[in-house]
Amino acid sequence: MQSFSEIDITSKRASKAAGFDWGIAEEVGKNMRNLEMFGLPGVKNLNLYLQKIKKNPTEKPKKIEKENKPQSKEFCPIYCGTTFLDDCKMLERLSRIKFINVSYPLLFLPFISRASEIVGKKISVQYEKNNFLLNFDKTIFSKNIKNSEVVSLAKEVFIEFLENNNSFSIQEWKELYKLSEKTFVEETESSKKIGAGAGLTDND
């Protein structure tokens, strides 16, 4: 099998050869390493996308808004990704963002995954019945995705910054906490006096 290092370097060089600048190609290399590490078909998608843009160039977004529509062609997932990543702290305020007509949208994902780590929030992404939950660039949970099927165009991509809420109820938490209390030792008068580090008076 190919090492992740080989995947990174080869993806970077291939992206440069396809016309991206070195700085962008570096991003792609790192992203392909991440996608493959998460078990998603990055190399397959990148290969197809770089072949496609030889004949049908895609479009770079000028600035990301709440809703983004290409002027004439399809959006480039790599340029969408770098722009999203660079501006993610501002984009977080928009909460929900929509892109129309994104080519090979899987290639957009690792940028958003890295943005999730930067802003410290989980991000959900949906396109063409594929659902992803991006967790601080540590994992990507996916639903309905089949690795053998490549989505070459997403008519709509929905991105949502998720608030840092609990996934459990207060009652569930209380029950768990109560159980955890069984590891505590009942305090005595004597242990109160000598067991704690701080003095009994602290008037300075």
């Binding site: 099998m1 190919q2 090492s3 992740f4 290092s5 080989e6 060089r13 991206f20 600048d21 070195w22 700085g23 962008i24 570096e26 991003e27 790192k30 000028k62 600035k63 770098t82 722009t83 990543l85 660079d86 501006d87 702290k89 501002m90 890295r114 930067i118």
Partner: protein
């Protein structure tokens, strides 16, 4: 002397190529730290299945607490005209791979099919480093012949060459299917950089001794003797190194910075010692005096290196006089005094030689630094694009002072370009105005691209974010990333023009090789050189009792 506040040396001085190309091995060097780390491990020769000519398979290992690293060696016959040190070679006298664990029969068979092919073979995530080597034919045959006749080889000849085999590449970190570093990076014993590469070379050295002994015995079973241990100890492994190493230090800025930072931190801490212990000062003088003896056996045909060695010799004479006349352990801040004197009176080659020597007495300063010499490079990859243009501009003005004054409209300042050869995927440098291919230039012209970035930033709105700027400036994105790295890692950037007409690429190679711990740099052109590794190092069965200053016992 009053209390002294010693500062780190300025990167604009240290990071000049002429200075970096004057670095020497030191206590921080990777092959020395490898021996310190692995001296308590159990060494074993697990398999030695060579025919009478020395061709076949061998396995050597280090083991401790259930963890094994095994070197698998494949030696083969090659015709004299097939033996080449060039990276374009396709056949070697021996090929090696370091396997993670104990290889099974099936592993060895799989490796036998692939390892001798090197770049066109495939290895797996169970393998850690890969290499090949050629015999120094003259020395190898002389040693085998002598031993088979019952006498030891000619020491003068061995001193001239210094090794039986020369490696021409040592690969690691994911190349050709090898394990990615992330799989093993949390193992304590390999947290120093290139430790597994150092292990491979060390075990290869032992294989070369076992091979000559074996062939000699096969030739003349009744009369043959084995290579004297004192002679063996003074043989290392040669290495021919080309431009492949040069881009490495540009492509790994945080790692590179950590190496230099540790050296600078050691120097700063040593210069800050107010009272120097007499034993420590004596150890310094002892290492210094022994090391000087090596200069007469530092042989090279390169006029560039001959000039450097002559300058070093003449400076060392001056320094020796100064040391004898003006230095004693009674002087406060002695090391600082020595350093300041060296900066004022000596050339870079000798200054850095003395800096290396000054580390010798100080295990307590050096040992903790060894663990700081790796890097989690990924952590610093993202560009903090929310920051302002004014901040980025200030970073460049502070960290690339001399670079932004270079005029890249002058042809001499863009004379060269770096590219990757199709043949072996190896880096090369060529004249931009005479050779074909500059449109495929690698992103290694950092100085030129930083200057371009700076010129654009000057025209940009200072209150805009870097994200705003990058929307229309993809072509400088790679150096925007670097600028934010240099802000945190001031020693991450070479403060010179790596595409200028006056570039001496071997300065970049020598820098890296000095951190490896190589000695006797022998440039064969301005683009490749030969070195020696582990000359004088303890043999495997001697490691447990070895002293870290072994390197100075061998330099004669």
């Amino acid at each position: 002397m009053s209390k002294t506040n010693i500062k780190f040396r300025d990167p604009s001085v240290v990071m000049k190529l002429s200075r970096l190309g004057s670095f020497h091995q030191s206590k921080l060097s990777f092959l020395r730290s490898f021996i310190r780390e692995f001296k308590e491990w159990n060494y074993k020769r697990n398999l030695f299945d060579l025919d009478k000519n020395g061709y076949g398979t061998a396995v050597y290992s280090f083991e401790k607490n259930g963890r094994n690293y095994s070197l698998v060696c494949f030696a083969q016959h090659i015709d004299p005209n097939e033996r080449s040190d060039r990276v374009i070679a396709t056949k070697w006298d021996a090929a090696f791979v370091l396997h993670d664990g104990v290889p099974t029969r099936a592993d060895i068979d799989r490796l036998r099919d692939n390892v001798p092919k090197q770049e066109i073979g495939r290895v797996s995530y169970k393998e850690l480093t890969l290499s090949r080597a050629n015999k120094s034919v003259r020395v190898f045959e002389h040693v085998v012949n002598s031993l088979s006749q019952g006498h030891q080889p000619d020491k003068n000849l061995l001193n001239k060459v210094g090794y039986l085999y020369r490696t021409t590449a040592v690969y690691g970190s994911g190349k050709f299917g090898l394990a990615d570093r992330f799989r093993i990076k949390d193992r304590k014993e390999i947290c120093g950089p290139f430790r597994l590469e150092m292990m491979l070379v060390y075990l290869v050295r032992q294989f070369t001794f076992d091979q000559v002994n074996h062939i000699a015995k096969s030739r003349n079973p009744d009369k043959a003797i084995t290579l004297d241990k004192n002679i063996a100890r003074n043989l290392g492994i040669g290495n021919s190194t080309g431009l492949g190493m040069a881009p490495f230090i540009v492509n790994h800025p945080t790692l590179f910075s950590n190496w230099i930072y540790c050296r600078e931190k050691a120097l700063k801490d040593i210069r800050s010692i107010e009272y120097v212990n007499t034993d420590d000062f004596n150890l310094f003088k002892d290492c210094f005096n022994k090391s000087k003896l090596s200069l007469d056996s530092w042989l090279t045909d390169s006029q560039y290196q001959i000039n450097k060695i002559n300058s070093l010799k003449s400076d060392l004479l001056k320094f020796t006089q100064y040391l004898e006349k003006d230095c004693s352990a009674k002087i406060g801040y002695l090391w600082n005094k020595i350093y300041l004197w060296a900066e004022k009176n000596l050339h870079e080659e000798c200054i850095e030689y003395i800096v290396s020597m000054m580390m010798e007495p100080y295990d307590k300063i050096i040992d903790p630094l060894i663990n700081e010499m790796s890097s989690e490079e990924e952590k610093y990859f993202n560009i903090p694009a929310h920051r302002k243009i004014s901040e980025l501009k200030a970073i460049i003005e502070n960290n690339y002072k001399s670079i932004i004054n270079i005029d890249f409209k002058e042809k001499k300042n863009t004379a060269n370009f770096w590219f990757i050869s199709r043949n072996k995927e190896e880096p090369r440098v060529a004249n931009r105005y005479k050779e074909y291919g500059s449109e495929l230039e690698q992103p290694l012209a950092i100085a030129r691209d930083i200057k371009l970035l700076y010129e654009r930033l000057v025209k940009a709105k200072p209150t805009d974010t870097v994200a705003d700027f990058l929307l229309n400036n993809d072509d400088v994105r790679h150096v925007v990333r670097r600028a934010f790295i240099v802000e945190k890692f001031p020693y991450s950037e070479i403060q010179d023009n790596t595409i200028g007409a006056s570039l001496v690429p071997i300065d970049m190679l020598r820098l890296k090789l000095s951190f490896f711990g190589a000695i006797k740099f022998d440039p064969r052109s301005d683009k490749w050189l030969r070195i020696n590794m582990y000359q004088g190092a303890p043999l495997p069965h001697e490691m447990k009792l070895s002293n870290d200053t072994w390197v100075y016992n061998s330099l004669r």
